[in-house]
């Protein structure tokens, strides 16, 4: 399996994540979908790092950094979701339309 294979897997994972974000109504599941997309990007970065002449292992380093950011993001995101659920008593995002015009 060469670079292209990894990339296709990455793209599919990203697409699945995007679909999940757009199609699911559960806030937590939307967060999970975002994680999927993060991972897809990570995969492509590591694959590039492995197959292309990279400088100072930039791909792997960035994958690690993205993991850190994702951890931070999911922490805050979940905190937000919990806070919202606590006030709105629902995890359904299509109920959250206070910002509607």
């Amino acid at each position: 399996m060469g670079l292209t294979g990894y990339l296709i897997v990455s793209v599919m994972l990203f697409g699945i994540g995007a679909f999940g974000f757009m199609a699911r109504r559960n806030a937590i599941l939307m967060l999970i979908s975002i994680e999927l997309m993060f991972n897809a990007v990570n995969l492509s970065l590591v694959a590039f790092n492995a197959f292309l002449p990279a400088d100072a292992n930039a791909g792997a380093v960035f994958a690690l950094m993205i993991m850190a950011v994702a951890a931070a993001e999911v922490t805050v995101g979940l905190a937000l979701v919990i806070a919202i659920i606590r006030t709105r008593q629902t995890a359904e995002v299509d109920q959250y339309s206070d910002l509607k015009e």
Partner: protein, 739 residues
């Protein structure tokens, strides 16, 4: 003192005079602070006007003055009174032009006995400076004309933008010197004359300020050595003309005439400006010398267009057909202004322009033809109007138009020197005639209509004698200046083979002699046709007014003898030869339509030239005699003649002439009414289409906003979908378009 310094000082002196008159002039015109309302039957009316002055209720003033027929009467209607004067003085003393310009009425004068006399002294400095300027001008004139010198005085570089360089510098050659002679002499005499004529007018200092500003502008115009300075002076004299025609600006007719003069001049000036721009674009310079040196390098079409555009400016400024309509109306201004600006100086600017630009015109035969034809047509057209006018100033105004047309006609056939000769002599005798008419109006208590005058020679001897001298010159009676200059033009036309022009010119000369002496006979001879009270009031004018008349009578008699003998080869030819030799050589009788053989015949007293002189003199005398017969001997015969014109055309022709051949009405119809219609159409277009578009844009934006508002659902997943769809769109574009 070097001549160059004198030349630089010549336009500078009137500026100083202007500043003086504006800044401290009001302080020199003292008016007593207590009104004296006794001794005037028009008291209540005047008081009403004064009361309103203080409260800026001008509308009342205007309506009151609509009924007042003439300038002098206005000046006489009100007792010299008024708090407003003090207000003006108080403010003027602080160096501020009074906000309440209550002097615009042109009233005052005639102080009741025992009252504190007003004094008007703001003339001292302006007139003194103009007098000094006159002395300088004469020195320069003598140096140029007799010494054969030419001066170029560079003052400073005015505009330096890239390769566009304009210098403020003066060029004095013999052409400028001739103009200088007329402008400074008549200008100085008009200043003296105005001291008497404007005495008692509240705008006394303002009048002198304008006069000085005008002198400055006119001198700039004739002294400038490039087209831009000429243009600046040109516009500045136009502005001063506007200000002085509308000097009594509370009189609606004066304000309207000022506007008319300004707007009509704008039409010509627009062409003039375009012509200057074309010169710049094609030649890259505006300096007279450089333009004239290089004009031959352009093709004839371009030169013709430039020449015609320049001529458009000349037509406007010199009141030639079809832009002649403003000059007769300009007679609403004070008579000294008519004498100075609208007879002797400013209206000559057009002639000066064409003469100055003679190398350009010499290269453009079509333009020369245009000049000649417009000149000939305007000459007979204006003379035919002047025949029937009853207002003494209107007669002179149309006469001025007609005489200026003579000059253009001379320029058009290439008789440059003759045109300038006529300009000089006309400047003197027409200035004299206007000042004389002002004296008549002044003496006759403001009456301008000749039908209510008569027998004035009994009471106004000096005015009578001087005006007759001026009229003899205008009519072209031998030994007076007009005879020589006019007959030189006619002889040139004949010699150069323009037989039709010669015939028309001769007819015009006959008409001129006729209407001039019609004016003299109606004014000074016969019976007094006005009221008895007015007759008792008539008096000879003040010495300051009569003296300029007497002084001007001298050049009127002598200019022709000194400059024009022998005919067609007088001393003036030697002076001006330098200026015109290029153009003279360019076409001596080569214009199409000429039947001359190209040889220039010298003047022979007992040959053709003498015959032409004789014809000219005979025609002039004939005109005078006809006027004498019709207006002194048998006053009813004029009307009988009108009736005797075949086919019953007589009364119609008479009416047409009195109504100035309806040109004003036509313009009123076409431009004023048409302008209103066009404006209405444009207003509709603006209201419906432009505003519609603007409102439509607003409506469209609000509709789009309303539509887009629904997109904002507040739901994250919708936004996410939008982002993803956008991403897809970008990818599609990348995949299809970019690759």
């Amino acid at each position: 003192m070097p001549i160059e310094l004198l030349i630089a000082l010549i336009p500078a002196l009137p500026v100083v005079g202007f500043l003086f008159a504006v800044l401290v002039g009001p302080r020199f015109d003292h008016m007593p602070s207590h009104g004296h309302h006794d001794g005037n039957e028009d008291d209540s009316h005047a008081n009403a006007a004064h009361g309103d002055d203080d409260h800026d209720a001008h509308a009342v003033d205007d309506s009151a003055y609509r009924t007042v027929p003439s300038e002098e009467e206005q000046r006489a209607t009100s007792p010299h009174a008024g708090h407003a004067d003090d207000l003006a003085n108080a403010e003027g003393a602080d160096g501020v032009i009074p906000a309440d310009m209550s002097d615009g009425l042109g009233q005052a004068g005639h102080v009741a006995p025992g009252a504190e006399l007003p004094r008007y002294r703001s003339w001292i400095v302006p007139t003194g400076l103009v007098g000094l300027m006159w002395v300088f001008s004469m020195i320069v004139f003598a140096s140029v004309v007799f010494g054969g010198n030419e001066y170029e005085v560079r003052i400073y570089e005015w505009i330096a933008s890239g390769d566009f360089t304009i210098e403020v510098s003066f060029l004095v050659d013999s052409l400028t010197a001739m103009l200088l002679l007329v402008v400074s002499t008549v200008g100085f005499l008009v200043h003296i004359y105005s001291i008497g004529y404007m005495d008692g007018d509240r705008g006394f200092w303002r009048f002198f300020a304008y006069l000085n500003l005008f002198m400055f502008s006119m001198l700039l115009l004739i002294l400038g050595d490039n087209f831009l300075m000429l243009y600046v002076g040109w516009e500045a004299v136009g502005l001063c003309s506007y200000a002085l025609i509308g000097f009594w600006y509370k009189k609606p007719s004066a304000a309207g005439a000022a506007k008319k003069a300004f707007v009509v001049n704008r039409v010509g000036d627009f062409g003039f400006g375009l012509g200057i721009m074309m010169l710049w674009v094609n030649l890259g310079t505006l300096s007279f010398r450089e333009v004239f040196a290089t004009i031959g390098s352009l093709d004839e079409t371009t030169i013709t267009v430039i020449a015609l555009l320049l001529f458009a400016g000349a037509v406007g400024k010199s009141a030639q057909f079809p832009l002649h309509v403003w000059l007769p109306d300009a007679m609403e201004g004070p008579t000294p202004v008519s004498a100075l600006i609208h007879a002797a100086t400013m209206v000559n600017a057009g002639v000066y322009l064409v003469a100055r630009a003679n190398p350009i015109f010499a290269e453009a035969p079509v333009a020369m033809w245009t000049v000649a034809i417009i000149g000939v047509f305007t000459a007979i057209f204006a003379a035919a109007i002047a025949l029937t006018q009853n207002d003494i100033k209107k007669v002179l105004a149309y006469s001025t138009v007609s005489q200026l047309a003579y000059m253009f006609f001379a320029l058009g056939i290439g008789a440059w020197v003759a045109a300038i000769f006529h300009l000089v002599s006309h400047g003197f005798f027409k200035g004299l005639l206007f000042m004389g008419s002002g004296s008549v109006i002044h003496g006759a208590g403001g009456e301008q209509d000749m039908r209510y005058m008569g027998n004035l020679r009994a009471k106004m001897r000096w005015t009578y004698v001087t005006m007759v001298i001026g009229s003899l010159a205008l009519a072209g009676i031998p030994i007076f200046s007009g005879f020589f200059s006019k007959d030189e033009i006619l002889a040139e036309a004949f010699n150069r083979g323009y037989l039709v022009f010669y015939l028309v010119g001769t007819i015009v000369a006959f008409m001129t002699a006729f209407y001039t002496f019609r004016m003299i006979f109606m004014t000074f001879w016969g019976e007094w046709r006005g009221t008895k009270a007015a007759w008792d009031h008539i008096h000879e004018s003040a010495p300051t007014m009569v003296a300029p008349l007497a002084i001007l009578a001298v050049p009127t008699i002598l200019a022709g003898l000194l400059l024009g003998i022998p005919p067609e080869g007088g001393i003036i030819h030697g002076w001006l030869e330098e200026v015109f030799h290029v153009a003279e050589e360019a076409h001596a009788g080569v214009l199409p339509g000429s039947i001359a053989d190209g040889e220039h015949h010298g003047f022979e007293l007992f040959g053709l030239g003498g015959l032409l002189l004789l014809i000219g003199a005979a025609v002039a005398v004939g005109g005078v005699l006809l006027a004498y017969r019709w207006y002194v001997q048998r006053p009813e015969s004029a009307a009988r003649f009108v009736d005797r014109i075949p086919l019953g055309l007589g009364p119609g022709m008479y009416r047409a002439s009195v109504n100035k051949y309806y040109v004003d009405d036509l313009y009123g119809l076409v431009w004023a009414r048409g302008g209103v219609l066009l404006s209405t159409a444009l207003w509709w277009f603006d209201a419906k289409v432009i505003d519609g578009a603007v409102n439509g844009a607003g409506w469209l934006a609000s509709m789009i906003g309303g539509g887009l508002r629904k997109i904002q659902t507040g739901r994250v997943e919708n936004y996410g979908l939008g982002i993803a769809a956008g991403l897809v769109l970008v990818l599609v574009v990348l995949a299809t378009v970019v690759r």
